[in-house]
């Protein structure tokens, strides 16, 4: 019998405070207990063999070269009840509608500023605001077509949105791969209960991207633009291109013609591209407009986009809302654009740009998580109660030097899921990244990527920093 443990003051996704299985996890918990640790470990080992054999990898870039690592996966899934999930889905769709209206607004009339809801100086100082995008009109008024919002659950069971990733969020390929692996590990459970399938995502992605094509193009040619094989998410770029039948292109494969249309270099000559799913950061997509030294982009791409001859997803400039400062305004933005109350709560966020909030942060820094406003991947993050005094002092100095670039939040007690660690089942902290597609309509992946901090007590779930992953089951119960 495998023993399942929880920590007294934490919320566990599978077990309640008394150690009894939660409603949607009943079947799973029963099976985990009856299988025993040796059998679970064997299933874990088989899963790892599958991952190596299927070549599911992510790339770590170090010493000037990319190293392919096997994707870290824990065989014990995270379970969410379908009725709770439907509420989360509605909250995410609401959030993305507001985000897209905000982005469209800041590149046009800026009503949100004139109406006094969002401070003008924040936009002026935003490193992700692209002047070159002012007045552009992407189809449906949608800028952030593919987004991944990170969700965390606090000790009392409340699910919070921790951040919105609107630039080039990655991880969805692993959602699909994790499912393929976990179906092998727990085949019997999949036949015993209703677990929502995740496979439809790529088809929905294909449909959404196709819908962005310039007017009059019935069967658009889609290309996935990757920075190349050394990018940490190259596996995903290739996976998605494969699944939607798109060409996987690098900047050097594309050229903008005199007609301001985008073409790719094929063995038949130049072929027109109508939709680009770009996985290259804004600043690198067009050396004519942004960084002139970029070799990852395509000269003239912005001209073609502004002329309406090619759709780019996510639209250049969409990152203006992917910013921990804008995040702090999200509840206000939802109320302002939609006249609705937010369905999913934000984590309370202190904005260091304001004197009173900054003073609070400096005084209470040991109880807060301090984050740079524009970094992803967990870089630059400081967890107050784990830091030394000198680390705290360094953080305070950085905040005082550039207040706009910092926000702080209370330290959440991230929920846990039992995880196989050194032959035992231990509670480990998790978050969840669902993927939201926005075009003419919206779609939310069934569940998302559950990331798990494999080290005891650690809250850092990023795979680039030693985090692992789990399959996420949305169970009808």
């Amino acid at each position: 019998m495998a023993e399942l443990r929880t920590s007294a003051d934490l919320w566990d996704e599978l077990l309640d405070k008394d150690g009894a299985p939660r409603r949607a996890a009943a079947e799973l918990v029963q099976q985990l207990q009856s299988l025993g640790l040796a059998e679970l470990q064997q299933r874990q080992d088989l899963a790892e063999l599958d991952i190596v054999g299927m070549g599911i990898t992510f790339t770590v870039y170090s010493d000037g070269r990319g190293i392919d690592r096997a994707w870290p996966f824990d065989v014990i899934p995270r379970v969410i009840a379908a009725d709770e999930w439907r509420g989360i889905e509605r909250g995410l769709v609401q959030r993305l509608r507001a985000i897209n209206m905000f982005i469209d607004d800041v590149y046009h009339e800026q009503r949100v500023i004139h109406d006094g809801v969002f401070p003008a100086e924040l936009l002026e100082h935003s490193v992700n605001f692209r002047r070159e995008c002012v007045g552009a009109n992407p189809k449906f008024g949608v800028w952030a077509h593919i987004s991944g919002s990170d969700l965390v659950r606090d000790g009392d069971g409340t699910m919070y949105v921790l951040e919105d990733n609107l630039r080039v969020p990655s991880g969805v390929s692993y959602v699909l791969e994790n499912r393929a692996i976990s179906k092998r590990a727990f085949a019997d459970l999949f036949s015993k209960q209703s677990i929502l399938p995740v496979d439809a995502y790529t088809d929905e992605l294909n449909r959404m991207l196709s819908s962005l094509a310039p007017e009059g193009i019935a069967e658009p040619t889609i290309a996935v633009l990757t920075p190349g094989i050394y990018n940490s998410a190259y596996f995903e770029h290739s996976f998605l291109a494969q699944r939607i039948g798109a060409a996987l292109v690098e900047g050097i494969d594309l050229v903008v013609g005199d007609d301001e249309c985008v073409y790719m270099r094929t063995i038949d000559g130049l072929e027109r591209v109508h939709v680009i799913y770009r996985r290259v950061d804004d600043l690198f997509i067009d050396p004519e407009v942004f960084r002139a030294d970029s070799t990852l982009g395509v000269p003239g791409l912005m001209r073609a986009w502004r002329a309406g001859n090619v759709a780019i997803a996510n639209a250049p400039g969409a990152g203006v809302a992917d910013d921990k400062v804008v995040y702090a305004w999200m509840p206000d933005l939802i109320r302002y654009y939609l006249q609705e109350e937010p369905l999913l709560p934000n984590v309370p966020t202190y904005r260091c740009v304001y004197d009173d909030e900054r003073a609070y942060v400096v005084e209470h820094i040991a109880e807060l998580v301090v984050k740079p406003a524009n970094e992803s991947g967990g870089y630059g993050l400081l967890i107050g109660n784990r830091a030394t005094r000198s680390e705290l002092d360094d953080a305070i100095a950085s905040i005082e030097a550039d207040p706009r670039n910092w926000v702080a939040q209370p330290i959440l007690a991230l929920s846990t899921v039992p995880t196989l660690c050194d032959g035992a089942l231990e509670p480990r902290h998790v978050d969840l990244r669902p993927f939201i597609l926005s075009g003419a309509t919206s779609y939310v992946s069934a569940g998302g990527l559950t990331r798990v901090a494999l080290r005891r007590g650690s809250l850092v779930v990023n795979s680039s920093q030693g985090g692992g992953s789990k399959d996420t089951w949305i169970v009808e119960a």
């Binding site: 299927m54 494969q242 060409a247 270099r265 094929t266 063995i267 000559g269």
Partner: protein, 310 residues
């Protein structure tokens, strides 16, 4: 639709993998041959280096030509770009960038092969495990052929892959002929009691033994072995069979004219060879010329499909 960059990777991926497979065949069968020969009779391992076309590279780093050094160089040495492990690793790198055009199982076959070959390279050198190691390389390459043959549309990606495979295969068969067959022909008849065993070795190094026997009556004789490996269009590893493969692949690719002209001249070269080869030196020279023609063909492929200047 096939990107030029991807076309380049596919073509070379095919060449690398075919090279790995062919080198595995040659080394495996040379090992078996040498075990059959008594001490002193043709027991040098140096012809292997000549067949692999890496004599010069080998001599740079090695003072002696012992079996284990030569086999390690050809099978397990990552610093030798033409070794089995290097070729497999290079093929995998190339396929990593072409995963969206190939069936997923194809990538898995190559990935499996890569994991296998790089895990314990020394077992490809050790005489006791060598045959099994090399056999696995050959089987995995065949597995990939099966995946592509049975699961892939005959699209441009498939045809470019086939083209690369045929060019590399023709290259190996001509080197086996130019080195091994040519030297056997040059040996006066009857001077070597092990003539037949040696000719069997030539056939086996391109896995042609059984097919040769089925197409030929009577005992093995050198000149018919040469004709079989040069001219029998129905045998997929003969030079003529490879040329046919190149033609059928090119016919389904855009703007094939320049490359096809190069294949024509290669075929014209073959036509000048006598139906019954007796002159070893002439065969060696002719094979050198065929290989020069293959280099030219390679350049045409690059100009046409990668640079797009043809």
């Amino acid at each position: 639709m096939l990107l030029s960059r991807v076309a380049d990777n596919l073509y070379w991926g095919a060449r690398y993998l075919e090279r790995a497979e062919d080198t595995a065949r040659v080394v495996r069968n040379f090992t078996e041959l040498i075990l059959d020969l008594p001490r002193g009779v043709g027991s040098s391992w140096e012809p292997l280096l000549a067949v692999a076309g890496s004599r010069a590279e080998y001599d740079e780093g090695h003072a002696r030509a012992h079996e284990s050094d030569i086999v390690r160089f050809l099978v397990a040495d990552l610093s030798n770009g033409g070794s089995v492990v290097s070729s497999v690793a290079a093929a995998r790198e190339n396929l990593r960038t072409t995963r969206e055009v190939f069936p997923r199982d194809a990538w898995q076959a190559v990935n499996d092969l890569y994991l296998f070959t790089s895990r314990d390279t020394e077992s490809g050198v050790d005489r006791r495990s060598r045959a099994r190691y090399l056999g696995r390389v050959i089987t995995d390459c065949q597995r990939l052929d099966g995946v592509l043959g049975g699961m892939m549309r005959r699209d441009q990606a498939y045809e470019l892959w086939r083209l690369g495979q045929m060019v590399e295969r023709a290259d190996m068969t001509t080197r086996v002929l130019g080195v091994r067959a040519a030297s056997l022909l040059s040996t006066p008849a009857g001077a070597d009691d092990y003539d037949e065993v040696q000719w069997m070795g030539v056939l086996r190094s391109v896995t042609a033994m059984q097919m040769y026997q089925r197409s030929h009556r009577g005992p093995i004789d050198g000149s018919s072995v040469v004709s079989f490996l040069l001219f029998d269009e129905t045998f997929p590893r003969s030079v003529a069979g490879c040329v046919q493969g190149m033609r059928s692949a090119l016919a389904r690719l855009p703007r094939p004219d320049a490359t096809m002209a190069s294949v024509d001249s290669l075929e014209a070269l073959l036509a000048t060879l006598p139906a019954q080869a007796t002159d070893g030196a002439a065969l060696d020279t002719a094979m050198d010329r065929v290989q020069a023609a293959l280099v030219d063909l390679n350049d045409r492929v690059y100009d046409t499909f990668v640079r797009g200047v043809v």
